[in-house]
């Protein structure tokens, strides 16, 4: 029953976001703040995990490709496709669900508990529109950019690990990257990252905005937001793969 109630309130929250801004310039400022928080604030962790994901992919692919009949460039192809199709969008977004999601939920939860949201409402501001919409739009802009960066860094990390360990020469890796490249894979990855971005920004916003109680409830809402976001990410990952890659 609660599940249905949550869905209803979530949809109402999204519907309530659409109204004429009280002051476009203030909304723009809030949007830029959110872009900075979500994009620049998560840059460090995305860079680190992307490089290591690529590096580990190269090492593990090379470990499994033991046949001398398979050219070394195949390692690069496998790393490229794995990073583009799965690791960059899904793994990065799961990490972002933790980093960005908990921040959004706790920020809004704290605003709710300390009556800051009520104060905005009293002023005549649509708080759903002013507080939640910029977060979702900033997420939709910044998270796909982070995923694209993650793709590039993941592949570069793989190349670095391959050449440093002597598993695969740099020119063989580069050849493998160009062989049988499908631009559709990038499209698929971006489609996933937009879907994930919406989940990462909107689900924690819902849990944070509707917090009732005190500090303990903010913590609970934050945890719940991350857990639900991760489950929805994995579910939508499967759904999108079945829809866009299924034969």
């Amino acid at each position: 029953m609660n599940f249905i109630k949550d869905i209803g309130r979530y949809v109402m929250m999204l519907k309530g976001m659409f109204s004429k801004p009280e002051n476009g310039r203030m909304y723009w400022k809030e949007f830029m703040n959110q872009c900075s928080d979500i994009g620049i604030g998560s840059l460090g962790i995305v860079v680190i995990i992307s490089i290591f994901i690529g590096a580990v992919s190269t090492l593990q692919t090379a470990y499994q490709l033991v046949s001398p009949l398979i050219p070394l460039s195949t390692i690069a192809q496998i790393v490229r496709d794995t990073v583009i199709l799965e690791f960059a969008p899904t793994l990065t977004c799961i990490v972002l669900a933790g980093v960005v999601g908990s921040k959004i939920a706790s920020e809004l939860g704290n605003m709710r508990v300390s009556e800051q949201i009520d104060a905005l409402e009293i002023m005549g501001i649509n708080t759903k529109s002013y507080l939640i919409m910029p977060k979702i739009i900033a997420g939709l802009l910044m998270i796909p950019l982070l995923v694209v960066l993650s793709m590039a860094l993941g592949i570069w990390g793989g190349r670095l690990a391959g050449t440093l360990t002597g598993i695969i020469p740099a020119d063989a890796f580069d050849k493998g990257l160009r062989d049988d490249f499908l631009p559709y894979n990038v499209f698929f990855s971006l489609a996933k990252s937009y879907t994930f971005a919406f989940i990462i920004a909107s689900i924690p916003s819902y849990y944070g905005y509707h917090v009732q109680g005190g500090a303990l409830e903010i913590g609970r809402a934050s945890t719940k937001a991350v857990v639900v976001s991760c489950i929805l990410l994995l579910f939508s990952d499967y759904l999108l793969s079945a829809l866009l890659l299924g034969k």
């Binding site: 009280e22 409402e121 005549g124």
Partner: protein, 276 residues
């Protein structure tokens, strides 16, 4: 002027407000008093539209706020300032940014004009030189004053204060009360205050509404409250010996004598009947 007509509000099966009606006049401090859980805050939140009442009306200068569409409600809300119990300052903004926020959102003045107004209201609440401080660097009284400055920066017609003295020492409470009273008089604001503070009741209560278990139990001025024979009101207001003594002193001042039926022992007698 704000009128509340037959307001009812329940949460699940619990009735919190039952059929409350009152009028709150312009240029006056209208106090809502009552023990914890009596429905004061819920009534105030119904009045400002943070809660939707189950029945009844809230009229702002004759305009029915409860049945307005969102656009019209927004217009009324632009004329409302509110001081919250916990101040509700924006943590990430400085004092200056907090006070300037409503100006940024709702006016098209240039930066210099906005800063002039911000400095004016900060001076009015005795907070000159605190512009660049963050809420975490302020004391409870200073936070309340910043919140008050933010509430009045747009010259509201209606000012709501939820427990403005909670958590403050008596001296700071007096400063806040005095400020609210002065601002109310200066700008002819309709001020509504939720409070437990008996000093506020006696000092600034032009019109007092006493709530008991979600119902209006008594209404009158701070002069009338002294002579009220309402048993519940007397039990609430003059709970301590000190306050009973103070009441008798005030009666002595007003009438030159203490009526025998207002002796302390009589306050809880069955003969005491509500005025309203």
């Amino acid at each position: 002027m704000i009128e509340v007509k037959n307001i009812k509000k329940s949460f699940a099966d619990k009735v919190v407000i039952q059929d409350v009606s009152s009028s709150m006049n312009s240029g006056q401090c209208n106090l809502i008093i009552g023990s914890s859980g009596s429905g004061k805050t819920v009534l105030m939140k119904c009045m400002v539209g943070l809660f939707e009442p189950d029945a009844g009306q809230v009229l702002y200068d004759g305009k029915d706020f409860t049945n307005m569409d969102n656009h019209d409600k927004k217009e009324i809300r632009k004329e409302i300032g509110m001081l919250f119990q916990g101040s509700a300052l924006f943590d990430s903004k400085t004092v200056e940014q907090n006070v300037k926020f409503p100006l940024d959102m709702f006016t098209s003045d240039n930066h210099a004009a906005k800063m002039k107004r911000v400095n004016e209201v900060l001076e009015r609440v005795n907070l000159v030189g605190s512009n660049k401080k963050f809420p975490s660097e302020l004391s409870g009284g200073m936070k309340k004053r910043v919140a008050l400055a933010r509430a009045v920066v747009l010259n509201p017609k209606y000012l709501f204060c939820d427990e403005p003295n909670s958590g403050l020492d008596p001296q700071t409470s007096l400063v806040i009360d005095k400020l609210i009273k002065e601002l109310t008089d200066e700008y002819n604001i309709t001020t509504v205050i939720n409070t437990h503070d008996m000093n506020s009741v006696m000092e600034i209560g032009d019109n007092i509404l006493y709530m008991y278990q979600g119902k209006k139990e008594w209404e009158g001025t701070n002069k009338e409250i002294i002579f009220s024979k309402n048993k519940l009101l007397n039990e609430f207001i003059f709970a301590s010996d000190f306050l009973r003594d103070a009441k008798e002193m005030r009666m002595l001042e007003e009438t030159g004598k203490i009526p025998p039926n207002h002796k302390i022992d009589d306050l809880t007698s069955d003969n005491a009947k509500p005025i309203l």
